[in-house]
Subunit: 224 residues, 2 copies
DNA sequence: CGGTGTACGCGTACAGTGTACGCAACGGCT
DNA sequence: AGCCGTTGCGTACACTGTACGCGTACACCG
């Protein structure tokens, strides 16, 4: 079977923007966003690179669509359980989704036109907060605060060179401490030693901060 | 004067890693990180592209150094004014610095080995919190929370397609509202209208969230 | 049946990218 | 004078995004 026939077979599923975006997300998950090129994506789809330009105007537009697809994985908040629980579930879901697609975080800052999924989320969160009694201004404050915290946490977590408490302990002793002369970094040394000894797991940080923020927002609900 | 002689004159200042990094940060500020290439940087320095590889092993190493230079601009916390004031000043400084170098935010997630300036900051912040009475674990919690909030805020702020309250008002009415059918996005419409009418400035969000977090951390100081 | 328009696919070419390799020039030292 | 180290960098290679234009297939119409 010639290369063209092979491509024909692959394309019998038909190229589409949806197929492209899904495959692009897979490729970015495996190789990072730097490993995503139009030629490589076309190879994965059994198509020519220039065929992709029938479905997206540019690589930038593809990246926009990829970010929106990631947003679609985030759960919409359910209000039946109360605003705090709904916000918590949404925050946990966002963090999990971004942990699965760490390349997407770095793209958030350069996507200036939010996609449909992003807008739907924004509407759902705003609805939940308003119905819980927050004023428009307070709901906006809460939205900013929660999103900032969640995205910032995901950003930092993505930059960690380990995934588990054990790996943290190993790196702490094998990599970090040797680089931190105690006379120059006494507090970091103290912290590293105490945290490793205490079985510290940075994954626990998320709920600590989230709980603190949600608790601090509660009294602001009925602000006049 | 031949091209070589021109370059010789320019190079009389001598290439160095420091000069490269400073110039690279300037270029990224003007053109974004996508506009930064080794050839363009070399052109700015009056050198050949391959000369740069005497001072950095790779473009990745240059990016690491750029991020660390940005960290150096952030003020170290001064404790004389109390831990809250010190944390607030550091947070405000971080936000200002990242607002000036928005390209750096997206790089934070891929830099897994913190540079010297980053470590010095980490030590200074940890010292301040520990001396204010936070336990090692609580100081770590506070560090994570504050950094997550600040980086996340900077990330979102960098993605905003406007800079001032007036631009927000203009875009709200001219761009956003037309894209949000009221029957589909009733709460976003309500919010946009109310915020524009109230002279809302998203820049104020930062201090709202920061104040709330610092107030929520205060009772945790003497946690045993 | 032939002509036309549209949809789909994509090869070629261009200008740009990071960097391996190896060469040239210069200064210092013996 | 020769050797060595330092500094600079040109060439070449493989890869990148995408403008342009061409080929093929299909549907529709007269």
């Amino acid at each position: 079977m010639s290369a063209r026939e092979q491509r024909q077979v692959a394309s019998d599923a038909g190229l589409s923007k949806q197929r492209m975006v899904v495959e692009a997300v897979r490729l970015a998950d495996r190789e990072g966003v730097d490993g995503l090129s139009m030629r490589r994506l076309a190879g994965e789809l059994g198509a020519g690179a220039m065929s992709l330009y029938r479905y997206v105007a540019s690589k930038d537009e593809l990246l926009d669509a990829m970010v929106d697809l990631v947003f679609e994985e985030i759960e919409l908040p359910l209000e039946e359980t109360g605003w705090q629980s709904a916000m918590r579930r949404r925050a946990v879901s966002t963090r999990q989704v971004l942990a699965g697609h760490p390349w997407a975080i770095g793209l958030l800052e350069s996507r200036t036109s939010p996609g449909p999924a992003n807008l739907r989320h924004h509407e759902a969160v705003t609805a939940c907060l308003r119905r819980a009694g927050f004023t428009v201004v307070m709901a906006t404050h809460a939205n900013w605060l929660l999103d900032s915290y969640v995205y910032g946490f995901a950003l930092q977590e993505a930059g960690l060179p380990f995934d588990t408490a054990d790996e943290f302990a190993d790196m702490g002793e094998g990599v970090y401490l040797p680089q931190l002369p105690p006379e120059e970094f006494p507090y970091l040394n103290e912290s590293a030693a105490a945290l490793v000894a205490g079985g510290y797991d940075p994954a626990d940080e998320f709920t600590f901060g989230l709980d603190l923020i949600l608790a601090a927002l509660e009294p602001l609900r009925a602000a006049a």
